[in-house]
């Protein structure tokens, strides 16, 4: 089963993700950067789809783009930020930033060129059946215990939120 889409889709989606990322940091308006973040998250979901992980793509859309980003926008809108929009970006060290980015880029290229044996040769054989079943079996089978611990952690976070807001109700 050859991969689902041509390389065109791959470059388009990753280009979108990078564009989103860049916009997030350069935009002065907080809402614009939040929307750019959503753009890159959706592009990521597209990439997951290309890798035959529909379940993860679906979860990515629901949780990240649909859930967390909505709450981001909630907070941004409730706390009005007129003041912060007026201020110039005070840290002027964008030169240092560029240098660090360039160094990191060089490092990645070096790894890619040198460490050929690190990367698997043959292309991964994608599972025939949609792998949602496998994910479910793994998640609730072998990793049942860690799954429960994670949900416990979330429960604690929710209770914390309720207690913090309790004062107001």
């Amino acid at each position: 089963m050859q991969p689902v889409a041509t390389t065109f889709f791959f470059y388009m989606l990753s280009g979108l993700a990078i564009l989103g990322g860049v916009l997030v940091i350069t935009r002065k308006n907080a809402v614009h950067s939040a929307l750019a973040l959503i753009l890159s998250l959706l592009a990521l979901a597209g990439l997951y789809l290309m890798l035959y992980a529909p379940f993860v793509a679906g979860v990515q859309i629901i949780l990240y783009a649909g859930g967390i980003m909505v709450l981001f926008l909630f907070v941004i809108m409730l706390v009005n930020l007129e003041r912060s929009q007026k201020e110039e970006q005070f840290n002027q060290q964008w030169i240092a930033g560029l240098l660090a980015a360039a160094a990191l880029g060089a490092l990645f290229i070096a790894i890619y060129v040198k460490g050929q044996k690190l990367f698997p040769q043959r292309i991964l054989q994608m599972p025939e059946e949609s792998n949602t079943q496998q994910v479910a079996v793994l998640l609730y089978g072998n990793y049942m215990f860690s799954f429960e611990i994670a949900s416990l952690l979330l429960l604690v976070a929710i209770i914390g939120a309720v207690v913090m807001a309790k004062k107001r109700i």
């Binding site: 409730l78 706390v79 009005n80 004062k167 107001r168």
Partner: protein, 389 residues
């Protein structure tokens, strides 16, 4: 030269010692907002200034006077009969009751009794008017809370009442139906069967409204426990009419101090206990049924005889002053007339039920939510023509 529009709404609320909303990092500023005067849910030009803590109402202040036409000043420059049509323009939804109150007050001043036939006609028209006023209240009140359909049902039935008025006295809303000393027009032939036909037509319709709203879960949830006021507060604030009866006080001027021919009919006064919006709704629905009962009895035994007492063409009531009040659909509508023996009244003071009932809005709304303010204004059944005079 400050004025309502320019002054900062906060200054209005300064005299009420209202609690400060507790500051949290999310609260940008506590909210003082204007509701009205052009707001779909304030019945006419009423402006309510609300101090909010988030969604909860801390306190309110009503700014009224937008519809003030100086009726009482005009009265001092008109003769008694000329002032009669002005009275209909105050509570334009229940114009017949206004006319009835004024005519009876002047008759008391002239020490004249309207003939029984005139009294019967007056009772029938006043009760029809009460029905029409309650129907209009129900339609707009349900619309404010979100139920669109009752509005169309109630206006279709109210149309029948207005047809009878039009046939009798030529006007639908500001009817000027009565004259001082009785009624000017003899009932048109077919008046009795029109009223009987109307009675048969409307009785099942009221059950139709009840069917739609009384057991409607969302309606009950939106009205039960909203804007409740105790009997003691009602009496202290001078609130009268269905609002008072819904708080448990069994008091109705038609029974307490009967006027026109009310002492000759038997009807009950519906009351409820805990005085919230739902009870006021129930009380008014019952009142509609009682009005139908009165109309039925009255139409059955209209006496014959003259319809106009012997009243001089140019009325010069003796020097003196009297206060006469009737049970208008909204509450006790009173007229305090001072006469100095000339043809024009020296002073006419109108005691409007809506004006006094509106005072209770602040008490009923504190602690409630913004959405309830609109429900409470609806349940008080105020008409701004009467509030501002």
């Amino acid at each position: 030269m400050t004025d309502q529009t320019t002054t900062d709404p906060r200054r209005y609320l300064s005299h009420l010692e209202l609690g400060e909303p507790d500051k949290t990092f999310l609260d940008t500023n506590e909210l003082v907002i204007n509701m009205g005067p052009q707001h779909p849910a304030t019945h006419g030009v009423l402006r309510v200034i609300l101090k909010l803590d988030g969604e909860k109402v801390l306190g309110t202040e009503c700014v009224i006077g937008y519809l003030h036409r100086g009726v009482e000043k005009i009265a001092e420059h008109r003769t008694y009969t000329m002032f009669n049509p002005y009275v209909d323009r105050m509570d334009y939804v229940a114009a017949v009751s206004n006319g009835l109150g004024y005519c009876e007050a002047v008759e008391k001043l002239l020490n004249v009794q309207a003939p029984p036939r005139a009294n019967y006609i007056r009772v029938i028209l006043a009760e029809l008017n009460r029905l029409a006023s309650h129907m209009l209240w129900l339609g707009t009140h349900a619309l404010d809370i979100g139920a669109i359909t009752p509005l169309f049902y109630t206006f279709r039935d109210r149309e029948e009442v207005l047809k009878i008025f039009e046939k009798y006295c030529g006007a639908r809303l500001t009817t000027h139906a009565f004259r001082i000393g009785g009624c000017l027009y003899e009932t048109y032939d077919g008046f009795e069967d029109d009223v009987k036909k109307f009675h048969k037509f409307v009785t099942p319709k009221i059950d139709e409204y009840e069917e739609l709203l009384t057991t409607n879960r969302i309606w009950v949830e939106r009205t039960k426990g909203v804007g409740s006021i105790s009997a003691k507060d009602c009496i202290a604030l001078g609130v009268t009419g269905p609002v008072l009866r819904a708080s448990g006080v069994k008091w109705d001027l038609r029974k307490a101090q009967p006027y026109a021919a009310y002492s000759e009919f038997d009807f009950e006064i519906p009351t409820c206990e805990n005085g919230d919006t739902y009870d006021r709704y129930l009380v008014r629905m019952q009142e509609m049924r009682q009005s139908l009962r009165i109309i039925e009895q009255a139409v059955g035994k209209i006496p014959d005889g003259p319809i106009m007492a012997k009243v001089p063409k140019v009325m010069k009531p003796p020097v003196g002053e009297i206060y006469h009040s009737i049970e208008a659909p909204k509450g006790e509508l009173g007229y305090f007339i001072v006469s100095d023996g000339s043809t024009q009244p020296y002073r006419v003071r109108v005691r409007p039920p809506s004006f006094v009932n509106l005072q209770a809005l602040d008490l009923m709304v504190r602690g409630q939510l913004v959405a309830d303010v609109i429900a409470v204004i609806g349940t008080l059944d105020i008409v701004l023509g009467e509030v501002d005079r």
